[in-house]
Amino acid sequence: MKILIIEDEAGLREVIQQSLEKEKYIVETAYDYISGFDKLGAYDYDCILIDIMLPNGNGLDLLQEIKRQKKQSAVIIISAKDAVDDKVKGLDLGADDYLSKPFHLSELHARIKSAIRRNNHNGDNLIVWKNVTLSPEQRTVSIATKELVLNRKEFDLLYYFIINPNRLINKTAIAEYVWGDHTDQADNLDFVYSQIKNLRKKLKESNAEIDIQAVYGIGYKMN
């Protein structure tokens, strides 16, 4: 899997690159409009991350270029401007997703994975982790061959863990993913903790080979 990051901030570019390389992606980077344009012409990518504000150009123009060249890449716009207009414009131009800065790395991974998955259209979109099989489209989970019934929030939680295996996931990232910004202030830790406790119990009862561990002070890790 090949990913291109077009981002002018060196710090952010590096950290995203390192994080993606941990996931065994092959990562290329570009730092402005021109270098981005060159990379686009030279290779094919599974996913392209584009910052809207770039030196000597606009990310949305690059997006148009990708679509003009009929590239099959999934495109995710990352922008410091959480502007509705940019979001709508980007999605209209054919971007697969829009992520506003700052984001958690686990959220970025989740977005990349689902963008690539949706972009591939290759029927079998099941995500398998040991004896757990999860279908994002059907929203069903089976352990070995037995179906496990989860409610909407529990499914979202499990999906987020399975799509981010072996990664340290911040509790705020979990809360934001599953409950939107509704939990953005109060009792994050305790609230998320009690929800995850329920999920763990259900997984354990059906003998799922999933181990969700609490990481003191930060969040959770599944391995």
Binding site: K22, A80, F103, K153, L168, G217
Partner: protein, 423 residues
């Protein structure tokens, strides 16, 4: 009191004093002039009569007034003063059937033989009381006419002149920073008003540009902060993931991440506020608040269950209002979030929906909040560092955009009532 009535009142009072003073002086001067004139006339008559008496000796003996307006009486021999003596008296006049004032000249002259004669000449003069009466009536007439004409001038002319002033006043009343409203132009014949209008416009433009540059600054600052925040959060995440750390070290990193997350929320709320104030949420649709509230309550069920807070809804009517959907959601969810967070275990949150208002009440601390400041930015009545202190400011700026009113009441429970403008 309006300026024109105010000036009219003082003008009327001043005229009431000035006109009698003027009338008094006028009366004295006129009377003086009249007497002077009559006296001159009498003196003239005296010269003519004496000249005639010298020519016609018969005249020297006319002791009765008769048709003549004089008498000449011989005087016994003696030393007489030849000075003219004037006096005023009253005498019956047949025509008027009344006593009328008379001016009398009394003098002595000698004929060519040295005999002295007394000459008395009469002339009728102005009737002072009638003159006064006439003058008084004329003055009342003058006063009334003056007041009426001032009133008329005030109403017609001044109203026309003040029209531009009222336009300036209307302009000032309608100034609302950040809306980009243009002031109505003024075309006045009066320089002062034109200058005033120009200065008001300059001041308005200055304020508008300061206001928008400040808004711009907040928005830019928030935007610029996003990338460094992203770098810090992501670097920390990667560091915690890649490094083997002790529990204490993990805990410290967790605390730093939490602080950065808080900064992120703060920043997002600030951005949200400036976007609302910049009116960047322009798309509007008819929102059914009953449905919206039920939907949002569902989203918050997990949090409410966790906090053991019971949420209930009383729908007395259905409430529809045309506004931006994102803002409607932000309005209700900020209030709901607020009600949940500042609640206690086994507490409650209750929505009452009427045709034109929504009341959301909740259990919480046992004393009322200071309603003056709860909507101010960064006001927090508790010291929980989990809250941004911007939730209710967002509520306030949303309702300001739509002329909705919000009231805070306390009666054993905290109540926020949002009143929608009637259609």
């Amino acid at each position: 009191m309006k300026l024109q009535n105010y000036t009219l009142r003082y003008l009327a009072l001043t005229l009431l004093v000035v006109i009698p003073i003027w009338a008094g002086i006028f009366y004295v001067l006129i009377l003086d002039e009249v007497y002077d004139n009559i006296d001159d006339d009498l003196k003239n008559s005296k010269i003519i009569i004496i000249r005639h008496a010298f020519a016609d000796k018969k005249l020297l003996n006319s002791p009765e007034f008769g048709i003549n307006k004089f008498t000449i009486k011989p005087l016994p021999k003696g030393n007489y003063s030849f000075k003219d003596e004037f006096s005023t008296s009253k005498e019956f006049m047949e025509y008027d059937n009344d006593n009328e004032p008379i001016r009398t000249l009394k003098t002595v002259f000698n004929d060519d033989k040295g005999n002295s004669y007394e000459l008395i000449i009469k002339a009728s003069i102005v009737e002072e009381d009638e003159l006064l009466e006439d003058l008084f009536l004329a003055l009342i007439g003058l006063y009334v006419m003056l007041v009426i004409s001032i009133l008329a001038v005030n109403h017609l002319l001044l109203q026309k002149i003040w029209k531009s002033f009222h336009t300036i006043l209307d302009n000032l009343k309608e100034i609302k920073l950040g809306t980009g409203n243009k002031l109505k132009p003024i075309h006045s014949p009066i320089d002062e008003f034109n200058i005033l209008a120009k200065e008001v416009e300059r001041m308005h433009n200055r304020n508008e540009s300061i206001y928008s540059s400040q808004k711009q600054f907040i928005e830019n600052a928030s935007h610029e902060l996003q990338t460094p925040l992203a770098i810090s959060i992501n670097k920390l995440e990667l560091f915690a993931e890649n490094t083997i750390l002790s529990d204490e070290q993990m805990m410290e990193i967790g605390k730093i991440t939490d602080t950065l997350n808080r900064l992120t929320r703060l920043n997002k709320s600030l951005l949200m506020l400036s976007k609302i104030e910049n009116q960047q949420f322009s798309e509007e649709e008819n929102i059914n608040f009953n449905e919206l509230i039920l939907l949002l309550i569902e989203d918050y069920t997990d949090l409410a269950d966790f906090k053991k807070v019971k949420i209930s809804v009383t729908e007395n009517d259905s409430l529809h209002f045309i506004m931006n959907k994102g803002l409607a959601i932000a309005l209700i969810s900020n209030l709901l979030k607020n009600a949940l967070i500042h609640n206690h275990h086994d507490g409650f949150v209750n929505f009452i929906i009427n045709k034109n208002d929504i009341t959301i009440s909740n259990s919480g601390i046992d004393f009322p909040l200071n309603s003056e400041v709860i909507f101010s930015r960064f006001y927090r009545h508790t010291t929980t560092n989990e809250s941004t202190g911007l939730g209710l400011s967002i509520v306030k700026s949303i309702i300001n955009n739509y002329s909705i009113v919000v009231e805070y009441l306390y009666s054993n429970k905290h109540q926020f009532k949002i009143i929608f403008p009637k259609k």
